[in-house]
């Protein structure tokens, strides 16, 4: 039997997760340095990494990368367990749930309606909208239950739409280059 102090060997998969999570954390920290015009709005470029992992390596590894990025990123930025952290965490949970649903949709539609599959662009859009909606729901229901807050909702969702598409386009461009450099272990979803 191995002793508890003996280090466990890292598998190739572990290294992959660690590498992608490290990339995502760097983007997360860099992004936190930019001031935001409205609280709750930021580009969310780190999500491009989640999308790339999702489309190349599947749902399980993407979840790991996203979770590591959220915990380690917020520790580094100093927002861990602060009020804003709960907003971000709710948003992240909602966005991962949306990604999971879209992923299921892609699997279901693969046989019958392959043209209706979502690429990185559509996935990123859904994730961004869900992130904003989840974050807003917590802010409205728990922190500031005042109807004046609803006036902000259309603006916030517009920002989510724009940034979701930008992040998705970036992820899409990177995926194409990666596909040329090295064929992915799984068949990625690209344009027909």
């Amino acid at each position: 039997m191995r002793s508890a102090t003996e280090p466990m060997a890292a598998t190739a998969e572990d290294r992959l997760v660690a590498g992608f999570a490290a990339l995502a954390i760097v983007i997360h920290v860099l992004e936190a340095g930019f001031p935001s015009p409205i609280p709750g709005v930021k580009p969310g470029l780190a999500n491009a990494i989640t999308l790339i992992v999702l489309l190349r390596h599947g749902w399980r590894l993407a979840l790991w990368v996203a979770a590591l990025r959220i915990v380690a990123g917020s520790l580094l930025v100093g927002s861990f367990l602060a009020p804003g952290f709960w907003l971000s965490l709710t948003g992240a949970a909602a966005s991962l749930a949306a990604l999971g649903l879209c992923w299921q949709w892609n699997r279901l539609s693969a046989r019958r309606l392959p043209s209706l599959q979502l690429s990185a662009l559509g996935l990123s859009l859904c994730a961004a909208l869900a992130h904003m909606a989840g974050q807003f729901a917590l802010a409205y229901l728990v922190f500031v239950p005042h109807s004046g807050l609803l006036t902000l909702l259309p603006l916030l969702m517009t920002a989510a739409l724009v940034f979701g598409l930008v992040t998705g386009a970036i992820a899409d461009a990177i995926l194409r280059r990666l596909a040329r450099l090295s064929p992915p272990p799984q068949r990625p979803i690209l344009d027909p």
């Binding site: 539609s109 043209s115 209706l116 599959q117 979502l118 690429s119 662009l121 559509g122 859009l125 859904c126 909208l129 004046g148 609803l150 006036t151 909702l153 259309p154 969702m157 517009t158 739409l161 598409l165 979803i189 344009d191 027909p192």
Partner: protein, 121 residues
């Protein structure tokens, strides 16, 4: 971009359009004002009749003036006078508050507060 992406973008745009339609109504003139002291309703008055009200709060008396479908804090005993500087209010949903004196007012629609401020299709 796949056709699925195009559908997703169209749906998202429609959803956001609906949000704008829902939450960015044009401002409607208010019909009544609700005055609250310590968060509890102290009175509701129509904006059609000009009058001057004196409400006593934690610090002293605040004077509220109603005229020409508008309402304002005319005078307040607090130090920073935020409520007085808010000026005349006339749209449904507008509000002003004097936090030190714990008096606030909020404008409602045409009815007595139990009818919608506006309907749109």
């Amino acid at each position: 971009m796949t056709r699925g992406d195009a559908v997703a973008i169209a749906l998202a745009a429609a959803l956001i359009g609906a949000l704008y339609a829902q939450h960015w109504q044009p401002a409607v003139d208010a019909g009544t004002v609700e005055i609250r002291r310590d968060g509890e309703l102290a009175g509701r008055y129509p904006l059609s009749q000009a009058r001057s009200l004196t409400v006593s709060g934690h610090l002293g008396d605040s004077t509220i003036e109603i005229r020409d479908g508008q309402v304002r804090f005319r005078q307040a005993p607090c130090r920073n006078q935020v409520c007085v500087h808010r000026g005349w209010l006339r749209h449904a949903g507008d509000a002003a508050a004097c936090l030190p004196n714990r008096i606030s007012l909020r404008l409602g629609g045409q009815g007595q507060g139990d009818v919608p401020d506006a309907l749109s299709h």
